[in-house]
C-alpha cells in the first residue's frame, strides 16, 4: 500500500461499541429479558467498556510520546507554579552555561577552527627549526629549490603578511596586507567572491594588481562593485584592484585580516635573491598518499645543502636553522594559538568550576523540592502510578529546567562572546575574531546541559524514586536533624566552598600578577604620553636629508603647542611589538656567545628619555647638534654598560655597528623594558635620529602632555599632516593603552577570573543560605519542642551555625589545597607571585569565610526566633 490508511478515529470505535451493546441487548430482549436486564447483560458480556476504548486509543499509537507530552505539560505547569524556584535555577544555569558556552566559542574560534580552505588537513607549513625555536620558511632561494626539486607536494606557496600605507583617492591609509606567490589562492582552493584572484602572471608586476578582502571591501568601499578596477599607489607603483576574496577567508593568520593581497615579487629583488633573509612563510599541500614524514625527509637534505652552501654561525645553526619540520597548516599560523591557548584553557577550567558551583546549588534546590513533594509522589504511587512513569516525569521536569537554562545560557553566551570579541579587537593591534554560532557551539551547550541534567539531576530523581508511600503519608512532612551523617546537601555546600576558594584564590593571583606588571619598575612613566606613528612614504621622501628636515619641523611645531611638556621621535617605543637588533662590537670586550655580537638599537631624537621619564644616569642626552656633519655619538642603557663594560667607564669609547659605523658613547640611561614587561631589560644602544644607520621612514612621535593625551591627538595629527604631502599617519595611541594592549592576555584572565570568582562567591552564598533556610524550615517543630523544653534562642542559633562552620572549614581546607595545585599548572601565567602566595590565599579565605558566616547567620537567627507555641500549633 502506498498511502498509509487513515487512522480510524476513536469516536468511530466508540460508536461501534454502542451499536454492539444495542444489538446484544436486542438479542437478550428477544430471549425474553426485560429492557434494563437486557442492557445490563449486554454490558456484562462486553467487559470493561472504558478499558476497551482506552486500549483502542493506545493501539498503534506512540504511547511514550503521549506520556512525554503529558509530562512536558505537567513540568511546565510545575515551573509556572513555583516561579521563584524556576527563576533561580534558570538564572543560575544561564550564567553558568553562558560563561561556558562563551569561553568555548572563543576557544573554538582561536584554537580549534580550521581555515576555510579546500582540504585543510593536507596543508603544511615548511619551517626551519632548531633547539631554541621553530621559525618560518628558509630564504627565498632555498624555497625555490624546494619547488624545483621536491616531488612530495602538489604545490608550495610563499606568504608574507605585511602592513602598508597605501594611497587611495589622495590620502595615505594603513592597511593590513600580505604578499603571496602566484599559486597561493590556487593551492588553497579559494575561489573569488568577485573579479579574479592572483596567479603566476601577476608576479611580473606589469601591470601591478591586487585583491582585497571582503571585510575591507565592505568597510572601505561600502560593498560597491565599482571597487574592482579602482587603483591605489604603494611607494612608486599603481595597483589595480582585480578581485575580492570570499567572505569567510581572510588569510592564514587567525585574528588578522589580510585586507590587501599583492604579488610576492613586491618584496623586491634584493629580498628574493638574499640567501640570509628569513622573512616569510611557505605553505605546501601534500600530494596524494604522501605522508608529512616522507615529505620532510625529502626537503631536509635540500635545506641542509643550502645551509652548507650559505653557512651561518654554528650557534645559530644549532639554535634556529638546524633542520626542517612540517607544521600542520589546517588551522593557519599559530601565533594567536600560542599566545592564548594557555589563558583560554585556564578560563575554560574557571567557567567549568562556576558551572559546578551553580549546579551544586541546583541539586540542593531539587533535593529540597523532592523532599517537599514526597507526599505528592507517595499519593501517586499509592493510586497506581508506575515507578518508571514517575521517574520519567521527574527526568522530564529536570531536563526541562536544564534545557531552559541552556537556552538562556546561549543568549548570555552570545552577549558575552560579543564583549570578548570587542575586548580583543580594541587597541592599535586589533585581534579580529569571529565566533561561528554553528553546530559545534550549540552542540557544546546542548551536550553540557544533558550532562549536567544527568549528573546533577540524578540524586533528586533517585530520591523521588525511593519514596515509600506508607512512611511518607504517615510522617506529616516533619523532620529532625539526622545525626552522624553528612547529607548530600551538606556535602555539596562544602564542595561549593572548596571550588569558590579555588576561584577566588586564582582571581587573587591573576590580579596580583597584573598589578605587579603595572607597578613593576619598567624604567618609564606611561601616563599622559600620546603616541603617533608617522610614515614618510617613498618616492616623495626618498631623500634622507628631506626626511630629517621634516622630522625637525614636526618636532619644533609640536613643541610649540600648548599643553605639550616635551616631544620626541623614536623608532621604537615600549611594548609596541617591534624589536630591532644590530651587529655590535666594543673594543676590548671578550665575546662569549653569539648573543654578544648584537645589541638592541633604537634611533631617537633629543628629549626621548625626558618624554618617557627614563632618567639619564651619566653623561648627556642628544641635542639637535648631533647631526650628519658632527661626530657620531650614542647612549647605552645600564644593562649594556654592565654587560659590555663591566667595571670600566664606557664614556668616550667608540663602538661599532655592523663593524663599520663608529659611534662614541656619551652617556648611560637607566634600563627600560622594551618588548615585554615580563622580561628583564636587555642591553640597548641609542643613536641620534640625525645620525641614523638606516632609512628612518617610520618614526613614533611621543608627546608628554599636561592634560589628557587623547584630547590633543586630533590637533597634533592635523598639524603633522599639514607639514607636507603624502604624510601617512599609521596609527595613534597613548603609551598607557599600548602597555595595556601588550597585557591583553593578563587583563583578559584577571578580569574574567575576578568576575567569575565573584559570581562563584554569590552562588555559594545562595547555596549555603538555601540549605540552611530549608533545614530550619523542615525542623521548625523539632526546634519548637527543644525550646519548649528550655533551649535558649542563642543555643538553637549556635547549633545551626556550628554545623555550617564545620562545612565551611572543610571546604576552605580542600579549596586551598586545590588552589595551590591548580595554580602550579598555571604558573607560567603568573608574574611576581607564587602559587602559595599568602596574600592571595589569605584574602580569599577571609572574604569567603565572611560571606559564608553572613549567609548562615540569617537562617540561624531565624531558628533562634522560632516561637515554640506557634511552631507546635502549626502541626
Amino acid at each position: 500500500m502506498i498511502f498509509r490508511r487513515k487512522q480510524r478515529p476513536a469516536a468511530d470505535f466508540n460508536e461501534e461499541v454502542r451499536a454492539h451493546l444495542q444489538l446484544e441487548a436486542d438479542d437478550w430482549k428477544g430471549d425474553g429479558l426485560p429492557e434494563t436486564e437486557a442492557r445490563a447483560a449486554a454490558r456484562r458480556a462486553f467487559g470493561n467498556v472504558t478499558a476497551a476504548e482506552e486500549r483502542f486509543y493506545q493501539r498503534g499509537r506512540l504511547v511514550w510520546l503521549d506520556h512525554l507530552l503529558q509530562d512536558l505539560l505537567y513540568g511546565l505547569r510545575a515551573m509556572r507554579k513555583s516561579p521563584g524556584f524556576t527563576a533561580t535555577v534558570v538564572f543560575t544555569l544561564a550564567l553558568g552555561m553562558g560563561a561556558n558556552t562563551a569561553i568555548f566559542s572563543l576557544m573554538d574560534t582561536v584554537l580549534l577552527r580550521s581555515l576555510p580552505v579546500k582540504d585543510p588537513a593536507s596543508l603544511y607549513f615548511l619551517n626551519n627549526a632548531g633547539a631554541l625555536e621553530t621559525g618560518g620558511s628558509p630564504p627565498y632561494p632555498c624555497f625555490e629549490r624546494f619547488r624545483a626539486l621536491s616531488k612530495s607536494f602538489t604545490g608550495i606557496a610563499a606568504y608574507s603578511p605585511n602592513d602598508h600605507g597605501i594611497r587611495i583617492d589622495g590620502t595615505v591609509e594603513q592597511v593590513d596586507g600580505a604578499e603571496v606567490s602566484g599559486n597561493y589562492f590556487g593551492l588553497l582552493g579559494i575561489a573569488p567572491f568577485a573579479g579574479r584572484l592572483l596567479d603566476y602572471g601577476d608576479e611580473r608586476l606589469d601591470p601591478p594588481v591586487a585583491v582585497i578582502s571582503y571585510p575591507y571591501w565592505q568597510r572601505r568601499f561600502g560593498g560597491n562593485p565599482d571597487a574592482i578596477g579602482k587603483t591605489f599607489t604603494l611607494d612608486d607603483r599603481t595597483f589595480t584592484i582585480v578581485g575580492i576574496t570570499p567572505k569567510e577567508f581572510t588569510g592564514l593568520g587567525p585574528g588578522r585580516h589580510d585586507d590587501v593581497t599583492m604579488p610576492f615579487t613586491l618584496v623586491g629583488p634584493n629580498l628574493l635573491r638574499s640567501t640570509g633573509s628569513w622573512f616569510f612563510d611557505s605553505v605546501a599541500r601534500l600530494g596524494p598518499g604522501v605522508t608529512a614524514e616522507q615529505a620532510r625527509a625529502e626537503i631536509d637534505p635540500i635545506f641542509q645543502a643550502f645551509m652548507n652552501e650559505f653557512p651561518v654561525s654554528a650557534d645559530a645553526r644549532r639554535e634556529y636553522f638546524h633542520h626542517m619540520v612540517l607544521t600542520r597548516a589546517s588551522r593557519g599560523m599559530d601565533q594567536l594559538r600560542k599566545r592564548f591557548s594557555r589563558p583560554l584553557w585556564v578560563l575554560m577550567a574557571v567557567v567549568a568550576l562556576v558551572l559546578l558551583i551553580g549546579c551544586a546549588n541546583i541539586t540542593n534546590l531539587l533535593l529540597a523540592r523532592a523532599a517537599k513533594r514526597e507526599r505528592e509522589f507517595a499519593v501517586r504511587v499509592a493510586i497506581g502510578a508506575g515507578r518508571s512513569r514517575l521517574f520519567r516525569q521527574v527526568l522530564v521536569e529536570t531536563g526541562l529546567l536544564f534545557a531552559a537554562g541552556a537556552a538562556a545560557g546561549i543568549a548570555v553566551a552570545w552577549f558575552a562572546a560579543r564583549r570578548a570579541i570587542a575586548f580583543f579587537a580594541a587597541g592599535a593591534h586589533p585581534i579580529l575574531l569571529e565566533v561561528h554560532w554553528d553546530w559545534r557551539v550549540l552542540g557544546f551547550a546542548a551536550g553540557l546541559s544533558l550532562l549536567a541534567t544527568l549528573i546533577f539531576g540524578a540524586a533528586p530523581m533517585l530520591r523521588a524514586m525511593r519514596v515509600d508511600p506508607h512512611a511518607a503519608m504517615k510522617d506529616g512532612g516533619r523532620a529532625t536533624a539526622s545525626r552522624g551523617r553528612i547529607g548530600m546537601g551538606q556535602f555539596l555546600v562544602a564542595f561549593q566552598v572548596a571550588l569558590t576558594m579555588i576561584l577566588l584564590a586564582g582571581a587573587g593571583l591573576f590580579l596580583r600578577t597584573l598589578g605587579n606588571l603595572h607597578t613593576a619598575d619598567a624604567g618609564f612613566h606611561a601616563a599622559q604620553v600620546a603616541l603617533i606613528l608617522i610614515h614618510l612614504p617613498d618616492p616623495t621622501y626618498h631623500d634622507p636629508a628631506l626626511r630629517i628636515e621634516l622630522w625637525d619641523r614636526l618636532l619644533a611645531d609640536v613643541r610649540r603647542q600648548p599643553g605639550v611638556q616635551s616631544a620626541s621621535l623614536s623608532f621604537l617605543t615600549p611594548m609596541d611589538g617591534k624589536t630591532r637588533e644590530v651587529g655590535f662590537a666594543v673594543p676590548g670586550f671578550q665575546r662569549h656567545s653569539d648573543q654578544d655580537r648584537s645589541i638592541g638599537l633604537n634611533t631617537v631624537s633629543e628629549d626621548y628619555f625626558r618624554t618617557l621619564g627614563t632618567p639619564l644616569l651619566q653623561g648627556r642626552d642628544f641635542t639637535p647638534n648631533d647631526w650628519a656633519e658632527t661626530a657620531h655619538v650614542a647612549l647605552l642603557n645600564e644593562s649594556a654598560r654592565r654587560h659590555f663594560f663591566g667595571g670600566r667607564d664606557p664614556m668616550g669609547t667608540v663602538v661599532n655597528i655592523w663593524g663599520r659605523v663608529p659611534y662614541r658613547i656619551v652617556g648611560v640611561v637607566q634600563d627600560a623594558r622594551q618588548a615585554d614587561l615580563r622580561q628583564p631589560p636587555v642591553p640597548f644602544l641609542y643613536i641620534p635620529m640625525r645620525q641614523p644607520v638606516d632609512q628612518g621612514a617610520f618614526m613614533m612621535l611621543s608627546i608628554r602632555t599636561s592634560g589628557d593625551p587623547l584630547r590633543m591627538m586630533a590637533a597634533i595629527e592635523r598639524r603633522a599632516r599639514g607639514l607636507g604631502p603624502d604624510i601617512h599617519i599609521v596609527r595613534t595611541d597613548t603609551l598607557a593603552r599600548q602597555i595595556d594592549q601588550s597585557l591583553l592576555q593578563e587583563r583578559l584572565i584577571s578580569t574574567l577570573a575576578t568576575a567569575f570568582g565573584v559570581l562563584a562567591l554569590l552562588l555559594s552564598a545562595v547555596g549555603l543560605y538555601g540549605v540552611l533556610a530549608y533545614a530550619v524550615g523542615r525542623r521548625t517543630s523539632e526546634i519548637g519542642i527543644r525550646m519548649t523544653l528550655g533551649a535558649l534562642p542563642g543555643q538553637v542559633a549556635w547549633s545551626i551555625l556550628r554545623q555550617t562552620l564545620g562545612l565551611v572549614a572543610m571546604g576552605l581546607a580542600g579549596g586551598i589545597a586545590g588552589a595551590i595545585f591548580l595554580a602550579r599548572a598555571a604558573e607560567k601565567l603568573l608574574y611576581g607571585v607564587t602559587p602559595t602566595d599568602a596574600v592571595a590565599l589569605a584574602t580569599s579565605a577571609i572574604l569567603l569565610s565572611a560571606v559564608a558566616c553572613l549567609a548562615s547567620y540569617l537562617p540561624a537567627r531565624r531558628a533562634g526566633r522560632i516561637d515554640p507555641v506557634s511552631a507546635l500549633r502549626s502541626e
Binding site: M1, R8, F13, E16, V17, A19, H20, Q22, L23, E24, D26, D27, A45, F46, G47, N48, V49, A51, A52, R55, F56, R59, G60
Partner: protein
C-alpha cells in the same frame, strides 16, 4: 491461546460479512458454548485484523434495522485463514500424539 481468536473470527467470516455482535454470537454458538468471548477483546481483535488488512469493514444496517459495522474477509485474510487452519491442525495433531489416546488418561 494467541491467534486462536483471530482464527475463529476469520473462520466465521468465511460464511459472509457479519457485524461484531454477530461474530461473537456465532463463535459462542458454533463452539457449543465452550468459548466465551469477552466482547471488548473481540473488538480489539477485529481492529487488529482490520489494521493488518485481513478483514475489511464498513457501516451498514443489521437485520433488525440497527446501525452496525460489518466485517468481511479480504483476499489476504482468506489466504491467512487457509494457512492458519493447516497450522492449527498440525498443532492439534502433534499435541494429540503427545497426550495419547483419551481413554488412557487417568
Amino acid at each position: 491461546m494467541q491467534g486462536t481468536l483471530d482464527l475463529l473470527i476469520l473462520r466465521t467470516l468465511l460464511h459472509g460479512p457479519c457485524h461484531g455482535q454477530g461474530i461473537a454470537r456465532a463463535i459462542q454458538r458454533q463452539s457449543e458454548e465452550v468459548f466465551f468471548v469477552d466482547h471488548g477483546s473481540l473488538y480489539l481483535a477485529l481492529q487488529r485484523l482490520e489494521d493488518k488488512a485481513w478483514i475489511g469493514a464498513k457501516w451498514g444496517v443489521s437485520e433488525n434495522h440497527r446501525k452496525a459495522r460489518f466485517y468481511s474477509l479480504t483476499a489476504k485474510g482468506r489466504a491467512q485463514l487457509v494457512d492458519k487452519t493447516s497450522q492449527w491442525r498440525r498443532l492439534v495433531r502433534a499435541i494429540g500424539t503427545i497426550l495419547g489416546p483419551e481413554e488412557q488418561e487417568g
